[in-house]
């Protein structure tokens, strides 16, 4: 018994691991494969074709909702990341103060409150605002997305700030840099990877949100995910597979970038 303990050698470890991978990836693989189906079924394979990708590309509604999704995600991610950066600075670059842990919880609240609750709360609240103001534009969706994106942007930025050597900022101050110049010349350049990571995470999270969007949107404000959900209730063709596959590809690219940026930090 000279060998050390390893979880890899426990009975059933391999089986469980395999099962997890199967459950995770087989459905996705099926989805992608059938997006190339030449026939109109999502279950009967009739040969390879780009047909449904072309169909999706030519579908005016898909183009429209995709653009709307990107607009909302872009604005929400930028605003949320800005707010998250400020929040991260305020929670790491100050002396510990009373209620700091409460503030952590407060900022991360959207991660803990069930999405459906937030969605319904927003629905009711925005209904009131609509009556008061008469405004019915895209602003509600952008505000709602910004709110739930903040913790996703906040976490990588805070992690980056916490790992940063505080003496660097002290050294800058020692070398005649005012607090603002210290931030601009030292803190911000070193924080960039964290900010970009936060931005991309927020973007992805906004892009594929369904629950809150479904509840907050007004008529004609479908985003790509809510449009896809709506389509599923009618005829299902591999067109939906094609959109999903493209969506998947975009997410993978962004998350991969996020991963590499995070790895560069350490």
């Amino acid at each position: 018994m000279a060998s050390t303990f390893s979880v890899k050698r426990q009975t059933g470890f391999g089986t469980i691991a395999l099962l997890c991978f199967v459950l995770l990836y087989v459905p996705i693989a099926t989805l992608v494969v059938y997006s190339f189906n030449a026939g109109p079924s999502i279950a009967i394979w009739e040969g390879f074709s780009w047909r449904w990708y072309i169909a999706a590309w030519n579908n005016q509604q898909i183009v429209e909702t995709s653009i709307r999704s990107f607009v909302i995600a872009s604005i929400a991610a930028v605003v949320a990341t800005t707010a998250a950066t400020m929040a991260a600075l305020a929670t790491t670059r100050t002396r510990p103060y009373r209620g700091l842990n409460f503030i952590y919880g407060f900022i991360n609240q959207p991660l803990m409150v069930p999405e459906i609750v937030t969605g319904i709360a927003l629905l009711i609240f925005f209904a009131l605002v609509k009556i008061w103001t008469g405004y019915t534009g895209l602003g509600y969706l952008i505000v709602a997305h910004t709110a739930f994106c903040i913790p996703f942007a906040y976490l990588p930025i805070r992690a980056r700030l916490e790992n940063m050597d505080l003496t660097l900022e002290r050294a800058a101050a020692d070398l005649y840099a005012t607090p603002w110049m210290t931030f601009r010349k030292v803190t911000l350049p070193l924080l960039w990877p964290g900010i970009i990571a936060g931005l991309m995470l927020a973007f992805v999270v906004s892009l594929d949100d369904v629950v809150i969007t479904e509840l907050v949107k007004s008529g004609g404000q479908d985003t790509l995910p809510t449009y896809m959900l709506g389509q599923l209730r009618r005829v299902v063709t591999p067109e939906i597979n094609a959109i999903s596959s493209v969506f998947l590809l975009i997410s993978i690219v962004i998350v991969t970038l996020f991963f590499f940026l995070n790895r560069k930090q350490t």
Partner: protein, 369 residues
């Protein structure tokens, strides 16, 4: 190194009644307690003490990273205690160097001047000058992550010296280097101080480093400065037990004051002999006192003389360049004698034999406590 006594030079830094308390209520820690110290212009001044003695706190107060709870810190007569660090003409070399990882060597060195708004031509010229001073010209455009620890150390020095600070603060800058490099950097630091003529305040817990580099040393313990003096003063004439113990090896002997004459006292030792011992400034020894004798300031005799301390040789420890003789004195205490090894000398001694210990002229010092 021994010319520290000249008191005519201007004072660069004065700490007057400085206290620093961290925390409050029952958790309050007094890191500095009513410290007074004057550091002269152009001097290599060392704050020496074990960790937690307050030396780094004092340095941070001078740099402006912290503010004193009480007292004043004057830079050439002006109270700088309330100023933020970026308004003080004082620069720091940090223990971990704190080089900016997103900048090149040159950008690091030029940072201070850039923040001071100096023209680019002047900054570039100064960077070249500093690179030459620390002998790093060929690494100008390297990233700081691509250079060795010793090189980073030099860049940190160049960066802190580039804006021509009135005082340079060094926070244990050599502690991260290996032995050989540390020795080289000690000499390098002395050279830099000599060439730039800037006042250096150096913090260390390494007594040897302090002795070899400093013009004057302040020995600190528990938020107090116990003694300030030249390395020779501190080593040969320690005023307090802590100082004697912290720096080098020491023998302590108990005795009675027989008479005091000027800065000398005659002491009748419990061990039987009578010695003349120095008195620290401001001390007035009476009754029972403790004296200290450095091991190399005593001699061992195989045939004890009349005024030697009698004892038994318990142990002989050979160190190559010198030998330590552990003697158990007849009166009780142990005494260590260090003798340099000369060809053929010392071989007559065997453990267990009766020996005498002779204390040299001007070798003993009376402690205040």
């Amino acid at each position: 190194m021994g010319r520290a006594g000249s008191g005519e030079r201007r004072s660069a830094i004065e700490a007057i009644g400085v206290s620093k308390v961290f925390g409050n209520g029952d958790d309050a820690v007094r890191a500095l307690d009513n410290v007074d110290v004057t550091i002269r212009e152009n001097e290599f001044f060392t704050l020496l003490g074990p960790s937690g003695c307050g030396k780094t706190t004092l340095l941070r107060l001078i740099a402006g990273f912290d503010f004193p709870t009480e007292g004043e810190i004057r830079l050439y007569g002006e109270d700088i205690a309330p100023l933020p660090p970026f308004k003080r003409p004082v620069n720091t070399v940090f223990q971990n160097y704190a080089l900016f990882p997103h900048m090149t060597v040159a950008q690091n060195i030029g940072f201070g001047l850039e923040m001071l708004g100096k023209p680019k031509v002047e900054i570039d010229a100064r960077i070249s000058e500093m690179l030459k001073l620390v002998r790093m010209e060929e690494l100008r455009n390297r990233r700081t992550s691509q250079i060795s620890g010793g090189q980073q150390q030099r860049v940190a020095l160049a960066r802190a010296l580039a804006p021509r600070p009135k005082v340079l603060l060094l926070d244990e800058p050599l502690s991260a280097l290996d032995f050989k490099l540390r020795k080289d950097m000690q000499i390098e630091l002395k050279r830099l101080q000599h060439e730039t003529g800037i006042t250096f305040i150096f913090v260390t817990h390494d007594q040897e480093e302090a002795l070899t580099m400093s013009d004057r040393i302040a020995v600190m313990s528990k938020g107090h400065i116990l003694q300030i003096g030249s390395p020779r003063d501190i080593y040969d004439r320690p005023a307090e037990r802590f100082v004697a113990n912290f720096i080098g090896d020491t023998n302590f002997l108990e005795g009675q004051v027989k008479e005091v004459r000027g800065s000398k006292a005659r002491i009748t030792l419990d061990a039987g002999a009578e010695v003349e011992a120095g008195i620290s400034e401001g001390a007035n020894p009476q009754g029972n006192v403790t004296i200290v004798v450095r091991p190399e300031h005593a001699a061992i005799q195989a045939r004890p003389g009349a005024d030697a301390l009698k004892g038994t040789l318990e142990n002989i420890v050979y160190f190559g360049t010198d030998t330590h003789f552990h003697v158990k004195l007849a009166s009780g205490p142990h005494f260590i004698v260090r003798q340099q090894n000369r060809h053929g000398a010392g071989e007559e001694f065997k453990t267990g034999m009766p020996v005498g210990v002779e204390i040299g002229q001007n070798a003993a010092q009376v402690l205040k406590d």
